[in-house]
Amino acid sequence: MFKLLKYSLLDIVKSRFALLYTVFLILVAISIYQVSEDMSKVSLSLLNIMLMMVPLIAAIFATTHFFNNLEFTELMLAQPVKRRDVFLSQILAVIVVLSLAIIIGFGVPMILWGADVTVLTLLGIGIGLSIIFAGLAFMASVLTRDKAKAIGISLSFWIYFSLVYDGFVLYLIYSLSDYPLEKTTLGLVFFNPVDLGRIIMLMQLDISALMGYTGAFFQQFFGSAKGILLSSAMMLIWMLWPMGVAMRVFRKKDF
């Protein structure tokens, strides 16, 4: 598989997208650092980029890449290699490029102007969300034969998780405000990777407000490393399952 990955990477790293995305992130990072004077402001500005832009770009790029590379995928399937390896080399190449763009795009400005734990966590979340949305995009791609449709599905995932889902949660909280819904809302958050990333950041930026939650459960959840560990574990599950589903479908798929 590493041989395949090596060549997939060789191809994708030289693509115009990888360069453009990295330059875009560098420019974003530079402008954020220029405008914000302290680290907490930097992380706040980065937060929106990481929670909104990064998943969007990951979803669209992964879908386009899958379809642009379809013929090559077919060629590889006719070679003496495992289907699993063909799939993994494709998705891992996408993930590596997306992650590298984030690491270089934000890492270079960070080396120049400094970073703190919060900003580094944000980088991790950006990478995590890239992996998750690449997985979702591949899932959408293997489930349909049509590129436009797949991009549509990937975009829907993005809109759903970054806007619609929260609207639904807010509506639920609002209409059932007479009931103790704290655990339910916290539970709902676990079914949305964007919210998970956001909660991990909240635990760093807004821990004081979160501790206003009533109940020992929340004090424990937010007050200790437990909350971060649990959310990260859940995020890991989110990284794995769409990719897993996509791989299962891919292994049975006709090309």
Partner: protein, 414 residues
């Protein structure tokens, strides 16, 4: 001639003990007996070791000095020392294991109707109440360490407890793990400075009906509910630090019915709520720093004529929230890190006013669990809309002259 000799001799006998006899006590000696036998003004020098005594009663001016912290162990029975006298000086003792009864408010040292007493450099451990004063005045409470290891609020009393006292100093004490760190009720003209008060179960500092007091440079950290000050006027709180008071009803300070007071140069850092105010008026908040609090200030609608001037608001989740719509308070020249305005005339004051209350904080005020959606795209969107067309947030809660850059209090205060 003889008669005069006798008189002089008698005078000598009379005077020498009053000029402070020093009586040494070793472990095994009874402190109570020594006190009973001592003359007024004597000094008891207590040598290192363990003294198993409780309910030691002092009714005359005396000085008790511990050498290398001798331990008086009450073995969980009642009070350790009870004082009802003037000019009592207690220094360098280690007092442990009082009774744990709410009925007699068991305390390490308890003072009734005393005057001019000093309590210095003592260590109190596993005491129910630490230092307990009633109806006393001119007290100096300094450099004491009070540590309680109780796990729950009802298992412990207050660290330094003053009831109906006046004209006193509470200075440089370390108080940990009690119910209230410092408790003052009907206490006037008293100063509390440089105390370190942390991890007390209820309030770090709790005072009621205690007018004309001041609090300088104390640190209140991780107390169950922060600091509560109630029903009081003319209070001065300066350069204190209120830190990491976390919880559903935890505040840096809870101000209830406080009037004509000053809160200046304090730091509120990482509290769930920095300042919670209700029924308070004519109080000035100046040069405070609010840093990384959940809510920097929760201002209930029952507050009026308060002034918030030249404070720094940095990294708070919400700067100000309120439960009402009409709020008659003044906000001016504060620095708000969330301010996004501009300064075209370069006077370092933003050209457009700042509204510190955002829509979502109003929602969270009604439905606390909604805070989990904070910083989501949806909520950001809602807040933007509200900024453009204010509909829910109070119209007159507004800073017309927001600063463009934060104040540097460190140089300003020194």
């Amino acid at each position: 001639m003889k008669a005069t000799h006798i008189i002089i001799g008698l005078l000598l006998i009379w005077f020498i003990p009053t000029q402070a006899a020093i009586i040494e006590l070793k472990p095994g000696n009874s402190i109570q007996e020594a006190i009973n036998q001592a003359a007024e003004g004597d000094t008891l020098k207590i040598l290192p070791g363990i003294y198993l005594e409780h309910e030691i009663i002092i009714r005359k001016p005396l000085t008790l000095i511990g050498v290398d912290y001798p331990t008086i162990d009450a073995m969980d029975k009642g009070n350790v020392i009870i004082v009802a006298a003037e000019n009592v000086h207690i220094e360098g003792l280690r007092i442990i294991r009082t009774g744990k009864s709410n009925l007699d408010d068991s305390a390490g040292i308890k003072f009734f109707d005393s005057k001019n007493c000093t309590i210095i450099n003592n260590r109190l451990e596993q005491t129910f109440f630490g230092l307990h004063f009633s109806n006393s005045s001119n007290l100096t409470i300094k450099n004491n360490t009070l540590i309680s290891v109780a796990e729950r609020e009802f298992q412990t009393g207050n660290g330094i407890h003053l009831w109906k006292c006046k004209d006193s100093f509470i200075e440089n004490n370390f108080i940990q793990g009690h119910r209230d760190g410092i408790y003052l009720e009907f206490v006037t003209n008293t100063e509390s400075n440089h105390n370190m008060v942390l991890e007390n179960k209820r309030y770090g500092l709790h005072f009621m009906f205690s007018h004309e007091n001041s609090y300088y440079k104390n640190t209140f950290k991780r107390n169950g509910a922060g600091v509560a000050v109630m029903y009081t006027r003319n209070v001065i709180m300066k350069e204190n630090i209120f830190e990491e008071n976390w919880g559903a009803s935890a505040y840096g300070i809870l101000l209830k019915d406080i009037t004509d007071s000053e809160v200046i140069g304090n730091i509120f850092r990482k509290n769930t709520i920095g300042i919670y105010m209700e029924g308070s008026s004519r109080t000035i908040f100046k040069r405070n720093e609010f840093n990384q609090n959940g809510w920097a200030i929760k201002l209930m609608a029952s507050c009026d004529q308060n002034t918030f001037e030249a404070n720094n608001f940095l990294g708070n989740t919400f700067d100000i929230s309120t439960n009402g719509s009409v709020v008659l308070n003044t906000l001016t020249k504060n620095y708000w890190d969330k301010y996004e305005g501009y300064d075209l005339n370069k006077d370092r004051i933003g050209d457009i006013p700042y509204r510190p209350i955002n829509l979502f904080s109003v929602i969270v005020e009604k439905i606390p669990s909604a805070v989990i959606l904070w910083r989501s795209f949806l909520v950001t969107l809602l807040d933007r809309m509200e900024k453009v067309i204010p509909s829910i947030t109070p119209e007159n809660m507004i800073d017309h002259s927001p600063k463009m850059n934060p104040y540097d209090f460190r140089t300003a205060n020194s």
